[in-house]
Amino acid sequence: MLQIDPRSPVPLNEQIKASLKGLIARGALKPGDPAPSIRPLAESLKVNPNTVARAIRELVLEGVLETRRGEGAFVSVAALRKAQNGLSDVRKGLHEALRLAKRGGLSSDEISAIVRRAQKEDA
Amino acid sequence: MIFPLLRLELRQNVLSAASVAIAFFITLPIARLVSAATGLETAKALEAILSAWILIGLPLAAALIGASAGARAASSSAREREALLPVSPARRAGVSLGAAALLFLMCALLVFGTARLSISGLFTYEHGPLSNWGSDFWEGIPTSPLLHFAALDILFGSWLLAYLIGHGLAGGLLGLLLSLSTAAAIVCGYGLEMIYRESWNVSPFIPHAVSLAGFAVLAKLAVVFPNVSRRERGMRLRPLLFIPSLLAGPVVSWSLVGHVYTGLIQNFQDAEPSTAFTYQSLSEDAEASPASLAAQGKEILFHTARGGVLLASKDGLHPLIEEERAGLLDLLSGPYNILHLNNSFRDENGRLWFERYSLFYLEIWRVDSQKATRLWRSDGLYWLRIARLARRLLITRPGVGPKGPSYSLLDQYIRLGKKAPIITDIAAALDDGRKSPLLARIDCKGTCLRRKDGKSWRLPGKALSRESAFPHWAGGRPAYLIPYQRSNGKDAAALCLENGRVETIWSLRSTKTDFNNRFYALPDGTLYAYEPGDSIGIVDADGRFAGSLNFSPHRGKRKGQPDLVYRDGGSSWLVWDDDLLKIGPDGSMKAVHRLPGPRYDIRTMRDGVIVNTHSGLHFVDWTGKARRLGRLGV
């Protein structure tokens, strides 16, 4: 399910996009599925519908979603590839973070502990 | 937009109005208790209670309803609940005021409606003075519904103050105070009317009261709305706005009748003798001592506005009590000082007695060889109230016989030496009246009149009412006037005289009002009354019906109706407007004499009339010759 973290510094529309891409990458949303409706999504996430609308718009611009006239937005055919591409940035970011951590003086054990904790949170 | 709000306000404020209505209904059966305790007729007790409601209860109800509505409108809970509605504070206040006024008017309708019902026979008191909207019980203070514009002023004032203070009780009391200025102005206006009643042709009291109250209400509304808006919107109030609200009443009053007030004050301050406003003839209900009988129509007592008392006859004026320099306080108690000389008569020894009372005291005076001495004075209002109460309860002047007791303080005082038993309660006064030997009952299934001492008269038909009757007085002798129904179905009156005669007066028809009001007596015992169609029916001193005198041919430019002042040998003398007219036995005008004027009033004596004018007292005999007796206040 789409989620946002209110404590995260990442802008909300970015979080929504990332979450949507994550669903597509996992295969929960397949090409051809309709994109989530703005209103219900906004209500469940407790965010401004404009924010959701903006995220959807940007995903359309990125090509992850496509609009069909009169029928709204749908997951595009190329979505899977694009989502995974998007994930490469996340991978890069994670790598960089680990490098920073090591440089900063964290031991491997400490790093592992953090990773384990983060994974637990997701589950 | 207003109706849903109005419904809401009515719903919120209905409790105060409902409690007034409930209180009203509870007091009505109390009439029964009062009647049982005091012996008063139930209907009379009911009249008293209704009068109390009209004069006191409704103004208090106005304060209650107004103040509770105002306090509620000002409460923070009201504001919290209603502020968010898209209605301005001024409109909300207006609706609250309107609801309060509507609720009060419904209570007023209830009270006045019930009062009206009581005189249409529902409670069997057919002669109720409430039918004239003048309460007999309360000394003629008008109980007209029109008076209750003043109560609306109280409603608005209480609402306003309760709203601004935010407290119901305080607001109500202060609102009553705020309306005092209006009420005082109305009362002053009424006092003026009483003073000038006989010389004014118009009755300005009601227009005065209505316009006063109207302006006072408008002034209060002018204070309400600006202050409501300010208060709700967190701004400071403008207390100076109150001043127009306080002053509106007196200012309007002054501008309407102020010149009369100043004239009165002028009068009092002047060294010139003041005008007399009324006088008292030798009492018709006094003991019929020979001296009294002889004095009837020969002497008359005058009382001036400044406390002077004079004895007037065709021979001149004789001062008994000197005038005093009157202060402003006397001006206020003036009407009562002026209007009430009472119970004057000559005793067996020929000495003159009279009672004199004002708002504050009751006095008994005796005149010995032209010198008047005050023998007794009451303290406080108490005696006055009792004496008046007793008089009212007994409807008319009860008879005084040589043996019987009477209500009159003076008579008791004289009769029993100096130890006059004081009338301490209504029951005693009533008892006295009931025990009066002159009270007569309708008996024999409505066909005869019977008196306690055994004297009875057979009526020519069936009496219209079973009420006991007090006699009418003419020439020092009692006469009973009993309305009855003739065999042809028409109404007539039977005159039952002391000598046993029963005279039918078929043209003087009875109505539901008190019979005594319809008959006028001349000093020699002649009776007359106005018949429909511009004529006067005359009953001569022996009790014989002397026919009708049609006065319309003699009208000319004159207004109203003439007074019969004398009859002699078939000729009649009339006073009509400013003239003394002599009408011959054939109904034609024999002589016209212009009377001195402009006059305050005129009194009929045996040998002529005494006319009280601006320039003094004049005696005019039956030939029209006028003689100036002198000025009052000398």
């Binding site: 404590r7 407790k46 965010v47 | 968010l84 898209p86 209605v87 808006s229 709700e232």
Partner: protein
């Protein structure tokens, strides 16, 4: 086009000056959070916008109208007060039908569907209604006439979790419509954080600061470190100094430039930068402008 604007607002209650030259404006469609400590004038400002209070000085314009005391503005504004109050002898249904007759744009169908959605029983007597019921009723009263401006004063305080959820969903639903402007005050502003475009901070009787929320979300952080030997601590305005932990010092910083300035001043070592969640960022805003608590 401004949905509301005000300037130079002065309002005192007795001797206390609650608003002292407050000024601000909001464009149509914006969602604004009003932050401020108790007594800083938030409710007073809202009441002035609602034409319930008259300021001693200043100009106010709401939806193109000037408040004039007549209450006409309230036809177009919805207000949920902190403590909703209704006549105790009425039922919820009567409360709504009274308003239906007074508000020109009252939509009975919308009101009905709102009641259904919120689970509001129209036959409930106000006198015996729970806080949650009153909150729901207040919500319906504030929105059924389709106002272009919503003013919400602590709309979720005192309500249980479920009702709060419903109110929030309801608010989001309102925002779906074009151009609705919202001004909301809350002590739990983080609840609304997802909806806000900007926050206003009220302090010292005026609008002391105006912060776009998304920027705040990205830029709010805590910078901690150990002051270098021999260096003097720079004066950092626009940051809230946090309690010292031994030799370590830390600051809550809301603006990226301030953070960069601090880092660039090179007076700290072993620097750690953590993002500051919005909830804490709002508290810092209050401290920054109010300057009393830590």
């Amino acid at each position: 086009m401004n949905a509301l604007s005000f300037s130079g607002i002065v309002k005192s209650f007795g001797a206390r000056r609650v608003l002292d030259g407050a000024a601000g404006h909001a464009k149509a469609g914006r969602v604004v959070g009003l932050l401020g400590r108790n007594g800083e004038g938030k409710t007073t400002l809202l009441k002035i916008l609602l034409d319930l209070l008259e300021p001693e000085a200043g100009q106010v314009e709401v939806l193109g109208l000037r408040p004039d005391g007549s209450g006409k503005i309230r036809q177009h504004v919805g207000y949920v007060p902190e403590k909703p109050a209704f006549h105790p002898f009425m039922t919820a249904g009567e409360v709504l039908s009274l308003r239906a007759r007074l508000f020109e744009r009252w939509d009975a169908g919308r009101a009905e569907s709102l009641c259904r959605r919120l689970g509001l029983d129209l036959t409930t007597q106000i006198a015996s209604a729970s806080k949650g019921t009153l909150g729901k009723l207040a919500w319906v009263c504030a929105t059924a006439h389709d106002p272009a401006l919503l003013l919400l004063d602590e709309p979720t305080s005192g309500l249980d979790v479920l009702v709060r959820e419903e109110v929030l969903s309801g608010l989001v639903a309102e925002l779906g419509e074009e151009g609705k402007t919202v001004l909301v005050t809350s002590h739990r502003m983080d609840e609304f954080a997802g909806l806000l475009d900007e926050v206003w901070v009220m302090a010292q009787g005026r609008l002391a600061g105006c912060w776009p929320v998304e920027e705040l979300r990205e830029q709010a952080c805590v910078v901690s470190g150990r002051p270098k030997e021999g260096s003097s601590m720079p004066e950092i305005s626009q940051a809230v100094a946090l309690p010292q932990e031994g030799p370590l010092r830390a600051w809550a910083i809301l603006d990226r430039r301030v953070k960069e300035r601090l880092l660039g001043s090179n007076v700290l070592e072993s620097i750690q930068v953590e993002s500051l969640p919005l909830e804490r960022a709002f508290t810092c805003l209050l401290t920054l402008y109010g300057g009393q608590i830590q």
